[in-house]
């Protein structure tokens, strides 16, 4: 029963998440690159995507951490956190796709996004095999 509720809620959350990605413009690689292009014609829109998301999620996560899901202290900042995030930033800048929009656009039948997702999956499996430990949550 718990599994069923978890699956149902996750499905609804995935759908809302995807609609949010589409409405916000995160699924347009050119718009994402325009956000990262601070030295060129800069489109600041995507700062508002993260701002809007955090404005809604932060109070809920803070309440949850305090009362519903008592969480352990935050972990340390390690080298692979920094290295991995830098590598991801290069991939994000080159393509204009982070993982969520890439999956959504690939599911819609876009060939470039499909190729990107295949490579991303390979990269993830490499990461699981070499370099990632203690991967119990994302």
């Amino acid at each position: 029963m718990r599994r069923l509720v978890e699956g149902g809620v996750a499905g609804v959350a995935g759908l809302l998440f995807g609609i949010g990605l589409m409405v916000s413009g995160m699924v347009e690689p050119a718009k994402v690159q325009a956000f990262l292009d601070v030295g060129g014609r800069w489109d600041p829109s995507l700062a508002l995507v993260m701002g809007g998301a955090i404005a809604v999620a932060l109070p809920v996560f803070q309440w949850g951490r305090r009362s519903r899901f008592p969480a352990p202290p935050h972990g340390p900042v390690e080298g692979r956190l920094i290295l991995g995030s830098l590598l991801f930033g290069v991939g994000w800048g080159l393509s204009g796709y982070c993982p969520g929009p890439a999956l959504l656009v690939a599911a819609g039948g876009n060939g470039e996004a499909m190729g990107y997702v295949v490579a991303m999956g390979l990269g993830m499996m490499l990461g699981t095999r070499f370099g990632a430990r203690d991967l119990e949550r994302g």
């Binding site: 998440f17 995807g18 050119a30 014609r41 995507v49 830098l86 991801f88 190729g115």
Partner: protein
């Protein structure tokens, strides 16, 4: 810095962002799970056995968004002309990087910052900074070629 006001979409971006935040909050409040797409996809690929069905449900919901809105989920050309092999390398970097850093724009960006996690603040600074430098290099290369 030149702000491209013609392309600026504050309403849609803020509203879409709020939906993303709502989705992350809903998943967290009911299940305690983190809506981090790289973690969800990576663990689903790994075939994690801790009752990972919810991950596939999330991914199906994500994929279904375009049908609900009744259209192609955008995509399209990037701002620069990037050849396919480079796009493939970009995918490898994104997959490997988000795996060893344990999170991407959603896991570290939306959820991690909402948890006020110092790790996530470091991660977001690194990937945004690296993304901006990468785009600056692309713009320089396209100017040289032109």
């Amino acid at each position: 810095m030149i702000i491209d006001w013609a392309q600026f979409t504050p309403g849609a971006s803020l509203g879409g962002g709020a939906l993303i935040g709502l989705a992350a909050a809903l998943l967290y409040v009911v299940t305690g799970r983190i809506a981090g797409v790289s973690g969800i996809f990576g663990e689903a690929l790994r075939g994690a056995r801790d009752g990972g069905g919810w991950r596939w449900a999330f991914l199906v919901g994500l994929a279904a968004a375009s049908w609900v809105l009744g259209g192609q989920p955008s995509g399209g050309e990037g701002r620069f002309d990037v050849p396919l092999p480079v796009l493939f390398v970009a995918g490898l970097l994104t997959g490997y990087g988000t795996r060893i850093a344990r999170g991407c724009t959603s896991g570290h960006g939306v959820c991690g910052l909402s948890r006020l996690s110092p790790r996530s603040l470091v991660a977001v600074s690194c990937f945004m900074g690296a993304g901006m430098v990468t785009v600056a290099v692309l713009r320089w290369l396209s100017a040289v070629q032109a």
